[in-house]
């Protein structure tokens, strides 16, 4: 124990003493390089957590939401363009990204503390999780959807009449946003009793 304390004390001593052997240049350049590496590492880690394979490495996500996504238009479609989990769930803007990560880590905590570690617990929590997503998309005017889709680029003349009608009366006027009408676009919905627009 005392040996260990000595070691720590010695190390701390070295750290506090001004450097005699290393030049200032080396220290500042070294610091810069280390900074780049750490920063890069952080961003890389962030990038890694931004891939679908990361999202579904957690079996709650793989067994529940991923399986549902596989049957939808955002997994396979005529144009072969895919939407992955982060496309819809992670904002592209950096600060928004961090904010979202903090919120997502709550879901990770949910796993660690076992609040959604079984199908039943997940289903019980599902409405609450879905409501988070709806209010997020509502408040950012469905930003993630609009990263791929834009109302301006929609050709109403080749949309189905129902789609063209709804989009021209409520979407382009700004009265409603994508998530108001397209809930459950990627996953099975929780019990919708009491949710606006559903009976």
């Amino acid at each position: 124990m005392t040996k260990l304390m000595n070691l720590v004390r010695n190390f701390w001593g070295t750290m506090r003493r001004p450097s005699v052997h290393l030049s200032l240049g080396f220290l500042s350049i070294g610091g810069f390089v280390a900074g780049v590496i750490f920063w890069g590492g952080f961003n890389t880690a962030l990038e890694f957590t931004n891939t679908e394979s990361f999202c579904i490495s957690c079996h709650e996500m793989e067994n529940n939401v991923y399986q549902e996504l596989r049957t939808t238009v955002h997994f396979t479609n005529q144009s072969g363009v895919r939407a992955t989990c982060p496309d819809c769930h992670v904002p592209h803007d950096w600060t928004d990204k961090i904010a979202r990560k903090m919120q997502a880590s709550k879901e990770v905590w949910g796993k660690i503390f076992g609040t959604i570690n079984t199908r039943e617990k997940f289903l019980e929590k599902r409405l609450e999780l879905a409501k988070h997503e709806w209010s997020r998309l509502k408040s950012n005017d469905s930003l993630e959807c609009r990263n791929c889709h834009s109302a301006e680029s929609m050709d109403f003349s080749i949309q189905s009449p129902r789609a063209a009608e709804a989009h021209s009366t409520f979407l382009v006027t700004g009265e409603k946003t994508c998530i108001d009408c397209h809930k459950g676009i990627a996953h099975t919905l929780p019990n919708m009793a009491g949710v606006k627009g559903w009976n």
């Binding site: 189905s160 019990n191 009976n199």
Partner: protein, 165 residues
């Protein structure tokens, strides 16, 4: 005496008639030849036939004529991905009384609120909850068999012709 003998023969007679009935349709089906094939088509047993393309759902967005007044109208739009289970009914998110103003869809008729004693309920009757039990989409596909349905107006037209019957 004679009668009891007849009764004793009854089971055998019924059996014989039954067997005959089983044989005859099988025989006549053979007569039809290759024009009607089984679901697996004409592929030999040791090979897998090619699956036909999945036909497109018609999305005309226009009501189709009904063949008789009680017919559940066919759905004139796609319903791919619409959730319809105990958690939610996406059809009602457009067709419910309170939703039609926004969606422009026709409201479910009053029969959808009635129980089997024709009592109108406040909400959709449980027996009408699963819409696609009665309402179906139409696919763009050639008729598998000819449709010989004659609608009642055509029948009436024939009947009212002088000299009919």
């Amino acid at each position: 005496m004679k009668r009891t003998k007849l009764f004793k023969l009854m089971p055998a007679a019924i059996l014989a008639v039954g067997m005959f009935m089983m044989i005859v349709p099988a025989g006549s089906a053979q007569d039809v030849g290759p024009s009607i094939s089984t679901l697996r088509g004409l592929a030999p047993l040791d090979q897998t036939g090619s699956a036909p393309r999945i036909p497109q759902t018609e999305e005309t967005d226009r009501q189709r004529a009904r063949n008789y007044p009680e017919q559940p109208p066919t759905i004139p739009h796609k319903i791919d991905g619409y959730q319809l289970d105990k958690n939610g009914n996406q059809c009602l998110s457009c067709h419910a009384r309170t939703r039609v103003a926004e969606s422009g869809a026709p409201m479910i008729s009053v029969t959808h609120f009635m129980d089997r004693d024709w009592q109108a309920l406040a909400t959709v009757s449980p027996r009408r909850y699963f819409c696609n039990q009665c309402h179906v989409v139409q696919l763009r596909t050639p008729e598998a068999v000819e449709n010989t349905f004659v609608d009642v107006d055509s029948l009436l037209a024939v009947e009212s012709k002088p000299g009919a019957n």
